[in-house]
Subunit: 483 residues, 2 copies
């Protein structure tokens, strides 16, 4: 795919319609000299990039309140000096050879091109859905309808809780699709799970919570976020039934627990019914809060999705959802459904303003309300399921010793490896251009706690992420590095 | 294609309150079909909530400039389809069954209609640009081009510093229009000034800064944000030359200063050259940081915009800019240009992910690069300037005793009042349906500091915000309450 981002410095005819800021002493006989000097400095210093089209002498003269000839003469002088070029029909531009001291635009171009620097050929790292499948056309259609229909106040400083149109549509959707007890008043929009967890950490601290239990496998960024907010984060072991929530009663001083019940991240197991009951019982008995990260609850393949724990006791659960797996992380849109008593505190933590674009919020509301969201999720569920089945079939025939787990849902699978081989396999994969994560990077150990999770060698394979054209190659490379 | 914002002005909670916006193809034989379709979509999409009373066919017809029968026939068709109901004496309403099940939509509708609950007729409170002027069509065009051209990785978890396309375009724009020394590498995108200041407060705390001087007139939300982050906030007096930055040397232990140099908020004066020099000298001598809030630097009417202080010493200034005044606060897009040494720390404070929608960032980049941003700012500058001139002329003829200041730039003016009258005037305005701010609400005093700013009675009047249709009435009401 070609990037068509024109550096405005080298863009076409509309490049300058345009404001130009100059430091000028606009008085007396030195007027023209001052203007010439200011323009020269702007070019020399790099503020005006090579190729930038300058305003017409008429328009700049009007802006500066000087005679047009003064500007025209300045331009002519700088053309003579080689700083500017003048061409029939394309106006006056900064000369290309006038490369300034700084090379900002050039560096920017390098960074922009960075996507194509040598890197892994195949990316199977967990975390991202298939970005090639983002429904651009339908999203744009929703954006058009939303933008056309938006009331004036959508363009203003918003409600810190988010646009009511989206909160209302989400309440309907979450009740229907995820079994969440949701009223629009307790739905809060945020800029991704990271933002939501930041807000909740702030609220927990304000409520004098000192420790949040976390799963012994998980994403370190979120553990670090909680720890950075001054919270202790004792680990809760994870086994084949999910997090050992029955252990919570043995962890003194814990005021909240962060769990991934629908699909433990990254091991992929669902929290068993007993454990669901245990975590709710714990929360009721202690006044603790359950932080339910429902990051990919929509994607379950072999039966109905497991409903959210939140439905069991909405006053004890902070439910987190996101479009990061169902649509795209780049939208930076997520939501929380809060116990009623927390709404006010979360709003206060968010500050006096909304943080997410009202237009994006209205677009998502329209996208969901029109049914496009459901259709997209359903289509992706079929595609991801097919990918999963292909992965299982390929491994069964080419690496029959490898046991695959965490398959029932989500975007990734866990490939169990013989003890002690994980690191070697990850490195062998890298040599084949295959970026794949070992389970070790998700393991959370507290050295002196005696609560070390059992060592487990495994790969976490995101079978959803590769584009269709890369998938066959990625699968082949994966099978080749299996022991 | 015609866009119409009909406000039939029907009062009462269950009546049709908000503006009814319909996107119509108002030509040819498809007129009625187009209207029917637009209404049906508005009901189906939830924009028109169950029970909502529609404007009378006469009034909607007048607003759309079509025959009354066309509207009446559309209504009849939708009644037949079950989308609307018509009852003698209570007009045409959205059918209750049109959006079944949960009461959420009803509640949402109430909240949505909240914009039309009894409130001020005219809003002149400072802070917001003219929301009716948001360039919907051109923004959507930019969004379409951006979405079409976006590389796959734009849909993924982004660089915490923001999309390079936008940072690069902003660097060029800020250099050209605001005299900012900007390299893309030191431009950081954030979700509004509030987000940016939150990040900087975190970084300042990590650098063991204990106090940030603030202007003795300003927006309390930002002072509270700094104080909430654990920073002391000694006031810096503001006079007719801007903040008394020459006083900084007499404030011990201050590690940073938050200023609005281009257009002091809300008094409207520009920081004088001496004071600009003073603040830079202070920063260099003490290693302090200047936090430059350039919230409306684009809007200057009588001469070239005052360039940013940042250009004087990029390594000592954190420059903040935003689209909140130039486009719309609802986009939640702002940016910082950082001293090189702070980039890493701000990225760390932001966390491992971007916070702003990549699509909105790419849209803004495209909007700027295409020249649409410059054209919009220019057009708005002309409109706001005309508004300002009308305000001055009206006051000169109808309230000649009132001195108007802070006029050279921005979206608001300060109307100086006789001592002791401010509160009475604000209240008299409220009784006339005029929401207008007194200067007192922006005053920052520290009781025991002996640094009280001189008492000044004044109104802060946002002449930019009212829609065109409201402006004449707002101006008239304002003149009537002047002493």
């Amino acid at each position: 795919m070609t990037e068509s981002w024109a550096n405005p410095g080298v863009a076409g005819p509309s490049a300058f319609g345009a404001d130009l800021h100059l430091h000028l002493e606009l008085t007396g006989p030195g007027l023209r000299a001052g203007l010439t000097q200011a323009l020269r400095e702007a070019v020399r210093g790099g503020r005006l990039a090579p190729g930038t089209r300058l305003p017409s002498s008429r328009s700049l003269a009007a802006d500066l309140g000087v005679a047009r000839n003064t500007v025209a003469n300045s331009y002519a002088e700088l053309v003579a000096e080689g700083w500017l070029t003048a061409q029939q029909g394309s106006g006056t531009r900064v000369a290309r050879r006038a490369r300034p001291a700084r090379a900002a635009s050039g560096r920017a171009a390098e960074v922009r091109a960075g996507a194509s620097r040598p890197g892994p050929t195949y990316g199977l790292l967990p975390g991202s859905p298939n970005l090639a499948e983002f429904p651009r056309t339908r999203w744009l259609g929703a954006a058009r309808r939303a933008l056309t229909a938006a009331p004036y106040d959508a363009f203003g400083y918003g409600d810190p809780l988010g646009r009511m149109e989206l909160r209302s549509v989400l309440a309907d959707y979450l009740a229907r699709a995820r079994g969440v007890y949701a009223e629009p008043e307790r739905v809060v929009v945020c800029s991704g799970f990271h933002h939501g967890l930041t807000l909740i950490a702030q609220v927990l601290r304000a409520r004098r919570v000192r420790a949040v239990a976390v799963e012994s496998y998980g994403f370190d960024v979120y553990r670090n976020l909680l720890a950075g907010a001054g919270l202790d984060i004792p680990p809760l072991p994870v086994d084949e039934h999910g997090a050992r929530t029955d252990d919570l009663v043995r962890l003194p001083g814990v005021g909240a627990v962060l769990v991934t019940p629908a699909h433990q991240y990254p091991t992929g197991v669902a929290l068993s019914p007993d454990r669901r009951t245990a975590v709710v019982d714990w929360a009721r008995a202690t006044g603790g809060l359950i932080l339910e990260d429902d990051y990919d609850g929509e994607f379950r393949y072999d039966r109905q999705p497991v409903g959210a724990v939140q439905g069991l006791d909405p006053e004890r659960v902070v439910y987190f959802g996101t479009v990061s797996k169902s649509l795209a992380p780049g939208l930076r849109l997520a939501w929380m459904v809060l116990p009623g008593e927390l709404v006010r505190q979360v709003a206060a933590a968010k500050g006096s303003v909304d943080w997410s674009s009202a237009l994006e919020q209205l677009t998502l509301a329209e996208f969901i309300a029109s049914g496009a969201y459901d259709r997209h999720v359903r289509a992706m569920r079929l595609r991801y399921r097919r990918r999963r089945d292909q992965l299982v079939a390929a491994l069964a025939s080419r690496a029959p010793g490898v046991r695959v787990t965490g398959l029932a849902a989500g975007l990734q699978a866990v490939l169990e490896l013989p003890p002690g081989t994980e690191r070697a396999v990850v490195e062998a994969a890298a040599r084949r251009g295959l970026a794949v994560g070992g389970l070790a990077q998700f393991r959370y150990e507290v050295a002196d706690s005696g609560r070390r999770p059992p060592e487990r060698d495994a790969l976490v394979v995101n079978y959803a992420a590769p584009s269709d054209s890369a998938w066959a190659g990625a699968l082949d490379a994966l099978c080749r590095v299996m022991p």
